[in-house]
Each structure stands twice: as structure tokens, then as C-alpha cells.
């Protein structure tokens, strides 16, 4: 009743820890069996090892948090060598989140991962500011988003999901642009750009000045974008933003998501994903649904 098939992904349930909020799963594997999960979106992989931003990288906000990790990761080769073989031992679908400073970086990361059997799909993180394009993220214009998606699709031997930035005037035009050039799915949303100031120093709490806002605070924005994009595209949507419980998952499914990712709430309750998976059947039942298929896009039906 919880299973769902998406391009490249055979999810036993629609619950996927979000990229950057689960590392490569090692810490959580100490707490529960990762095979319980529908899938895992691993921390963004870049071509080279990345140290990321200076600290502090974290700030609390009302019903949310800011982060500016800066894509810290050991680089794709180390991930292939050290993390993926270990993840292979679990019965869950691995999604490789791919990021880069240039389009070439993205493509190279994808090429190196193509031969790896553990990775079942790519998730292009086009929400990070890109040096090559004057600090404007690839995800903020339909043209740039379509271009990187086209290149990724040409290079990839696995389905490509594109994770969009919510910091845009018109999310629908960007979603349509990436669908047009062959994206297999869309992940909505990455973090909102936010900031906090320390009243003692008057300086930003986060060393990087701005950070990405996530958590329940942004859920209404995420639901809105999933809802709008669902009406405009025909490829599946993976919903993410502020999920804390099975009811939140249902709201995303109703809005049009076919699966969801759980981000920062893994920090609040490390058991949130298995808890949701356990509760989802009874929540579906409570609302008269036989399976998650019936829930997907329900708010758009008569």
C-alpha cells in the first residue's frame, strides 16, 4: 500500500531522507535499519572534495533553521569508494544528489557515478549559487536550469531528477523548462534564502551571512510550489520542505508529490523517518485511502 514506482526508483514507501540531512546514513544506521527507508538522498556530491563554508553554519529560527554548510563533502571519488559500497548493503534506493561549481563539474560527477550500481537516480542540486554565472544559481532561470538538465540527461545513464530552488519568481516556468529537456522528475523545494542577526554583535549569526531556511516554517511555500508545478508538468514530483509527520506527507501527496523527502526534522527526531513509515498506513486509512496512489494529486481531482 505504501510502495510507488518512479523513474529508476522502486520505492517500498515514499519516505526518503533529504540530501544534506542524513549524511551518507552512517549515523542513522546506528539507530535503525536503513532498509526500512524508501530511499536515501545522499549529501550533495561534487567533483572535488569540498570543505564548505566557515562556521557558524547553523542558526535556529521560528519553526525552522538556517544552514550554510556549503556543500561540504568528500568528493565523488571518495563517495564511490567509501560510502556507496557500504550503502549497497541496505535494501533501499540510493539517489545521488549532484552539485558543482560549473556545468562541467556536474557532468563529470554524473559520468563517474554512471557505472555505479548502487546509485539508482540522480538529483541535480541547481539551487546553489554558481560562480560561473555571476553568483546567480543555475536554478533561478529557466534557461540555465534547462541547459544543465539537458547536459545532465545527455551524460546520465540513470534517470535525472532536478531539485529546484524556491527563491524564484516563477517556479512553474522553471519546472516546465526542465521537463521539456527531459528531466525524469522534479524535487521541490530546496531551502529559502534567509538570515539572522546576532543582537550582541549586530553581525549575521551565520558566518556565510545568508543561509538556507528549512523546516515547518517553509512548508506552506513548499506545498504551494508542488501544487502549482503538478498542474503544469507530467513528470513525478518529490516533495520536500517542513515534513515532520505522516499527516505532512499526506498533504504533500495531495498537492501532487509522488514521494517525499524529510530534511531537518531528522535532527530533531532521528527516528522521524521510520516513525512516519510506521504511521503512514493508519493515516491513509483514517482519510479513507487504500494506498498512496490514491493520495497523489488528490487535491486536484473532483
Amino acid at each position: 500500500m505504501l510502495d510507488i514506482k518512479l523513474p529508476g526508483l522502486n520505492l517500498k514507501n515514499p519516505i526518503i531522507p533529504a540530501s544534506g540531512c542524513f549524511g551518507f546514513g552512517r549515523e542513522f544506521a546506528d539507530l535503525y535499519d536503513l532498509s526500512l527507508l524508501g530511499g536515501i538522498a545522499i549529501k550533495s556530491a561534487t567533483l572535488e572534495k569540498r570543505y564548505g563554508n566557515p562556521t557558524p553554519r547553523i542558526a535556529e529560527t521560528p519553526e525552522g533553521m538556517l544552514n550554510a554548510i556549503g556543500l561540504q563533502n568528500p568528493g565523488v571519488d571518495t563517495i564511490i569508494e567509501k560510502e556507496l559500497p557500504w550503502l549497497e548493503t541496505f535494501d533501499t534506493e540510493i539517489i545521488a544528489n549532484v552539485a558543482g561549481a560549473t556545468e562541467e563539474d556536474y557532468i563529470e560527477v554524473i559520468k563517474r557515478l554512471n557505472d555505479n550500481n548502487t546509485v539508482k537516480a540522480y538529483e541535480l542540486n541547481i539551487s546553489c549559487p554558481n560562480v560561473k554565472h555571476g553568483g546567480i544559481g543555475l536554478g533561478t532561470s529557466p534557461e540555465l536550469a534547462a541547459n544543465i538538465t539537458r547536459l545532465a540527461k545527455a551524460a546520465a545513464t540513470k534517470p535525472v531528477y532536478v531539485k529546484l530552488s524556491p527563491n524564484v519568481t516563477d517556479i512553474v516556468s522553471i519546472a516546465k523548462a526542465v521537463e521539456e529537456v527531459g528531466a525524469d522528475g522534479i524535487v521541490l523545494i530546496n531551502t529559502l534564502l534567509g538570515m539572522r542577526l546576532d543582537l550582541n554583535t549586530a553581525k549575521p549569526v551565520i558566518a556565510n551571512v545568508t543561509g538556507g531556511l528549512s523546516g515547518p516554517a517553509i512548508k506552506p511555500v513548499a506545498i504551494r510550489m508542488v501544487y502549482q508545478v503538478y498542474q503544469a508538468v507530467n513528470i513525478p514530483i518529490i516533495g520536500v520542505g517542513g515534513i515532520t509527520c505522516a499527516q505532512d506527507v499526506l498533504e504533500f501527496l495531495y498537492a501532487g508529490a509522488s514521494a517525499v523527502q524529510v530534511g531537518m526534522y531528522n535532527f530533531v527526531d532521528p527516528f522521524v523517518c521510520p516513525k512516519i513509515i510506521e504511521e503512514l498506513p493508519s493515516v491513509l486509512e483514517r482519510y479513507g485511502l487504500k494506498n498512496i496512489q490514491e493520495a497523489i494529486g488528490r487535491s486536484h481531482h473532483e
Binding site: 540531512c21 561540504q72 549569526v205 523546516g215 535532527f267 530533531v268
Partner: protein, 249 residues
């Protein structure tokens, strides 16, 4: 590491803005000196990391200062309330049986994690010198408790209202303390000074944390030599060998 439901046994003010709380986990884990717990506070998003100060058979104790909303709410909680706690977390202060004497240097709420270290060394009847730095006399705490363990205790306050006027380093100079194996925890500037003045021992760090368990990369620090190497303060830390990590104030 586990999620535990910890019952508050007591929660008392022991100095200016400073509270001592005894917690009883549903099942008592092994907690090593220097490790911390991560406490969920109703209505706040992120857990609050607090070092364990002292461990008993079925309970452990923390000391915290009220600096913001989370610690303020903590200070208002009464015995009997149950807290959702991730415990224990992080690395610990290694205890070296071969040492004859150690020097503990604590500043403010960096003092608590050193208490369990003192206990362990005193249990082995080693000489333990403790230098405690506070802002002022009202903020001072645990000097008596360390004395009771049989440590020699030296106090410094920034305003001179108790002990030496100045920093812990001033205090060490003033008293001519020669012990060269240190355990230290406190504000960054203090750790920096300790790091510059000593080459043997351990420092415990703080950082803004999201997960507290190694998953988010929110709390990292760099290796002091290899700038490509980083450590998670919540996982490889909070305790590091002196000189190991780059100190950024």
C-alpha cells in the same frame, strides 16, 4: 547514542544565571567524562547540547547557564518533568592512569565537563590542580565541589571580585602552576590561550549544532595542519587533543 526519556530529579540555581540539573534516564547509558547530551525543549526547533558534569549509578548531572530562550526554559522546569534527550554524544576526555598530576582549566560553563575528569583522577588519588575562570564572584560555582574532591583550586575573575583578577592564564602564572598535562574547556579565547601555552592534554570545544550526531556537517572545525582535514565537533569532538584543531575566535 540513544534517545532517552530523562526525568528531571532536581533543577537548582547555583550561581548567577547558572543552574544544576539532575536527570534520570529511563535506562542509564555509559557516559564518559566530556561527553554531552542533546536536549529537546518544547517549542524550540533545535536540540540544546549540554555537557555532562557528573555521572552516578542511575542519574547524571548537567550545569548550564541561561543565555537564551532554550536555557531559560530549561531553568523554569520542575522536578518530575520528562525530557527527550539524545545521549551520550561525542568524544570524551581520555583518562591516563600513568599520569601523576593533571591541570584542569575551566572557564564559565566550560567548568562542568571537567568535574567528572577530576573525580576520575581523584579516585586514583592523583594530584589535580583546578583553575577556574569566571566573570565575577556571582558567576562562580563548583570551586568548593572541586576542593571537596581533594583538588587544589585556583580562581580567577575578570573583575577581581573573587581570586586573582584576570584570566585563567594570569592565574596559572600568578600561582606558578607547573603541571603540564591539561584538560580544558571554556570560551574560545581561553582555549586559544591554553592551546598556545600547553602541548599536552585535551581541549573541549563548542559549536552551533543542528543534528549533534555527525550527519549535518554544521559543527565542523579544521585540522590545525592539514587544512583539507576537518572534524565534526559533535562526533570526533567535542574533546580533541591539544593542538589538533585550528582555533578560530
Amino acid at each position: 547514542m540513544r534517545i532517552s526519556q530523562d526525568t528531571i530529579i532536581s533543577n537548582d540555581k547555583i550561581a548567577k544565571d547558572t543552574y544544576q540539573m539532575v536527570l534520570q534516564p529511563d535506562e542509564m547509558p555509559v557516559i564518559l567524562p566530556g561527553q554531552f547530551v542533546n536536549i529537546k525543549i518544547d517549542g524550540l526547533m533545535l536540540r540544546r547540547p549540554i555537557s555532562v558534569c557528573s555521572v552516578d549509578e542511575t542519574t547524571y548531572m548537567i550545569i548550564y547557564k541561561t543565555i537564551g530562550e532554550g536555557t531559560k526554559r530549561l531553568s523554569e522546569m520542575s522536578a518530575g518533568k520528562v525530557l527527550d534527550v539524545l545521549e551520550p554524544l561525542g568524544s570524551s576526555f581520555p583518562i591516563h592512569e600513568e599520569l601523576d598530576e593533571v591541570l584542569l582549566i575551566g572557564g564559565g560553563v566550560g567548568v562542568p565537563p571537567l568535574y567528572e575528569v577530576a573525580k576520575q583522577y581523584r579516585k586514583m588519588n592523583k594530584q589535580v590542580a583546578v583553575v577556574l575562570g569566571f566573570n565575577d564572584m556571582e558567576s562562580k560555582f563548583y570551586d568548593i565541589e572541586f576542593r571537596r574532591l581533594g583538588c587544589s583550586v585556583y580562581v580567577a575573575t575578570m573583575d577581581g571580585t573573587s581570586g586573582i583578577k584576570g584570566t585563567v592564564i594570569d592565574c596559572i602564572k600568578e600561582y606558578g602552576l607547573k603541571t603540564d598535562f591539561v584538560y580544558s574547556c571554556g570560551p574560545m579565547r581561553m582555549l586559544e590561550a591554553v592551546n598556545n601555552n600547553y602541548s599536552k592534554g585535551y581541549l573541549s570545544f563548542e559549536a552551533r549544532m543542528a543534528c549533534g550526531m555527525g550527519a549535518c556537517m554544521g559543527c565542523v572545525c579544521k585540522d590545525s595542519k592539514d587544512k583539507e582535514l576537518y572534524y565534526r565537533i559533535c562526533k570526533e569532538g567535542p574533546v580533541f587533543e591539544i593542538g589538533k584543531v585550528e582555533i578560530v575566535c
